[in-house]
Amino acid sequence: MDFRLTDKQIEHRKECYKVCAELEKKKPKNWVGFESQFDNDEGWAFHRYCAKEFAKRGWLSLGWPKEYGGTGDMMEKVLFAEARGYYDLAGSDIFGVSMLAPTLLAAGSEELKKEFLPKIASAELMFCELWSEPNSGSDLAGLQASAVRKGDEFIVNGQKTWNTGAHRADWAFGVYKSDPNAKKHHNLTFILCDMKTPGITVKGIPYMSGTHVYNEVYLDDVHMPAKYIVGQENEGWAVVNVLAGFERSNLDMVYGLVRGLEDLVHFCNENNRGGQPLSKDPMVRNKVADLACQLEAVRTLAYRVADQQNRNEMGLMDAAAVKVFASELMEKYAHVACDIMGPYGQVKHSKFAKMNGAPEYTYQGCFVPIVSMGTNEIQRNIIAWYGLGLPRMK
């Protein structure tokens, strides 16, 4: 067993932290975190700016095979995510870089790889995901949006929902029912499409915090060229599962907690309650230390997953475990931090806020990773069925 980073990886990590520290200084004033990239124009502009900075260093293709411009080392991707998370930056398209690119590498045709991978690596195209529907949430395979094949294109009709960043994205990857007569799980097709295609209407849904993160997307006779199918026609469910594995093993969000914990320690050292610093309170010390233990557990788990990905050994249940543990740790962190801050736990990012309002932001932001990508209850099903071999629900 060897946890040692190579000299090249150590050098890479140093460079990532340096570049991200510089970018942090250019954050717009109203930047609160992950959601900000979608919520307002300054946020989106900052996201694209960071993305270009990363692209020119080749960091958006880290972990890809060498023939597609990567270094083939997943660990470099993890170290980059650590640095980005630590400085709470955007710049790596969660849909294009983290999900679609590895899916194309695993299941896409050579033509698709050649057309899209360079545009993802150069931050030219930003993606969104058109999966959930009003009546298909956890039971995604039961979706209704139809794709009818006409020659070399599909005519797509239906409604999608919870589409994060759809109002900003250039392209989308979606999944549609292409054969109404075939068996469930063998009737869907996974297709890429340009968001500017006529017939696509995007309507925002405000998140509970009031920010504009996700949307409804209406599809009315949208023509999608068949050459943009990923995988096989009617076998899109297999592609969904491949992508979901990459989506869930993505630990980017939790790395922000490393910084969050440092900030919390600083807050406890600098703020008094009952005539002494909060850091002297044994209950506070116990709770913060517990968070530190769990964070270290998730950090080592990320290394373990990167190690598995490097050997193509990551299973569905490993990705599910990462997703559940990381998202629930965010929730725990938010609760502990807000409790320790006392009445200030509710104050939003503003001149009044302590700790930049980050704990309040996470307190309600944590539901995004908990509920999306398949709710944590769905992940527990996946672990039970695929990891533990327990009987599958009918």
Partner: protein, 376 residues
């Protein structure tokens, strides 16, 4: 980075598994809970022959000189099975002699330990139940060539069968870390009285009363008044190894519970088909997975002389709670049968509770973590 086991580790794991399956089945574990010695001397001798007691002893003292990481993987496998007796205690406390002992102490004791002729234990806790240095009140007073020990230690693992005890004593007035001294005490010395305390895991934890016990000054382990530093080494290494044993135990509970859920039929289907149970088992599996690499990281650091007091404490604090939670779920998911004396689930449940205080409780280790993440 490569987080797979080495070939050597796979071999070590398999040999531990094979040996204990044969020599220490669960029926034997339950028998030993009622045995006055609390361990099986014949099995102990076989372990010595296999080199188990000398894994961490340098070859020049008749040991095997294996790496700390290999030892950790071996102990995890031992924990899967359950091995009653002072094995972990002897192995962990051997490190104190290897690291802080004089040449004479090493030459005298290490070959004996390696050959299975010396059981070693640690007399640390007192009736105040404290883990920090202020809990140490047992007095050692210098008198001629000896120190004279007076006081009482509690929860001393297998003191009634031990050959040597490492006694944590106070040699200077005060309550700080300075003034704590460790002594290698012959367990058969005059003035020592041991009595087994009834404890949850029936694991032979003893009260040891020291009344005017004379210990030669040459038996000081490390430096006079500076014993706390040596104890910290025991705490660090012991935390990792005890956590490895616990990780093994909780792994077995997960496997055992999932197997039972596939087999036990109620409402015309295996109970493992019910989501209420599936989600609990998924949680058990995730807790196991997050424990594993946290521990391996600490073991790897210790093995490579990378300072890891923080990581060792994190492992102990996290895995203490993981084992207790998983072991309790193991009992619950088995239902009625899981609560019966003759079932295996309680064996692990009891050990999970016993393990959490060994080399420091969750709260003790969280406090050490708090200090190391910068809380003033």
């Amino acid at each position: 980075m490569d987080l797979r086991f080495t070939e050597q580790q796979e071999i070590l794991k398999k040999s531990a598994r094979d040996f204990l399956t044969k020599e220490c089945p669960k029926a034997r574990v339950r028998e030993l809970a009622k045995d006055p010695k609390g361990y099986d001397p014949a099995v102990w001798q076989k372990m010595a022959e296999l080199g188990w007691l000398g894994f961490n002893i340098p070859e020049e003292y008749e040991g095997m000189g294996y790496s700390f990481e290999d030892l950790t993987m071996h102990i995890e496998e031992v924990g899967k099975n359950i091995l009653p007796g002072p094995y972990i205690s002897t192995v962990v406390n051997t490190f104190a002699i290897v690291e802080a002992g004089t040449d004479e102490q090493k030459k005298d004791l290490l070959p004996k330990i390696s050959n299975g002729n010396c059981i070693l234990t640690l007399a640390w806790f007192e009736e105040n139940g404290q883990f920090d240095a202020s809990g140490i009140t047992l007095k050692a007073v210098s008198k001629g060539n000896d120190y004279v020990l007076n006081g009482t230690k509690v929860l001393v693992d297998s003191a009634h069968v031990a050959d040597y005890m490492i006694v944590v004593a106070r040699t200077k007035a005060g309550s700080g870390e300075d003034g704590v001294t460790l002594f290698l005490v012959d367990a058969k010395s005059a003035g020592i009285k041991t009595e087994v305390m009834p404890t949850i895991a029936h694991d032979s934890l003893c009260e040891v009363v020291f009344k005017d016990v004379a210990v030669p000054a040459k038996n000081v382990l490390g430096k006079v008044d500076k014993g706390w530093a040596v104890l910290q080494t025991i705490i660090r290494k012991g935390s990792i190894l005890k956590s490895a044993e616990s990780l093994g135990g909780l792994t077995t509970v997960v496997e055992m519970t999932v197997a039972y859920a596939k087999e036990r039929v109620q409402y015309d289907r295996p109970i493992g088909a019910f989501q209420a149970l599936q989600h609990k088992m998924s949680d058990m599996w995730m807790t196991m997975g997050t424990s594993r690499y946290l521990l391996y990281e600490a073991a790897w650091m210790e093995s490579n002389d990378i300072p890891c007091f923080k990581e060792a404490s994190m492992s102990k604090a996290y895995i203490n709670e993981a084992y207790k939670t998983i072991a309790a779920l193991g009992v619950k998911l088995h239902g009625g049968i899981g609560t019966s004396y003759d079932h295996d689930a309680p064996l692990y449940f009891h050990r999970a509770k016993a393990a959490d205080t060994v080399y420091g409780s969750t709260d003790f280790h969280r406090e050490l973590v708090a200090q190391q993440i910068g809380l003033k």
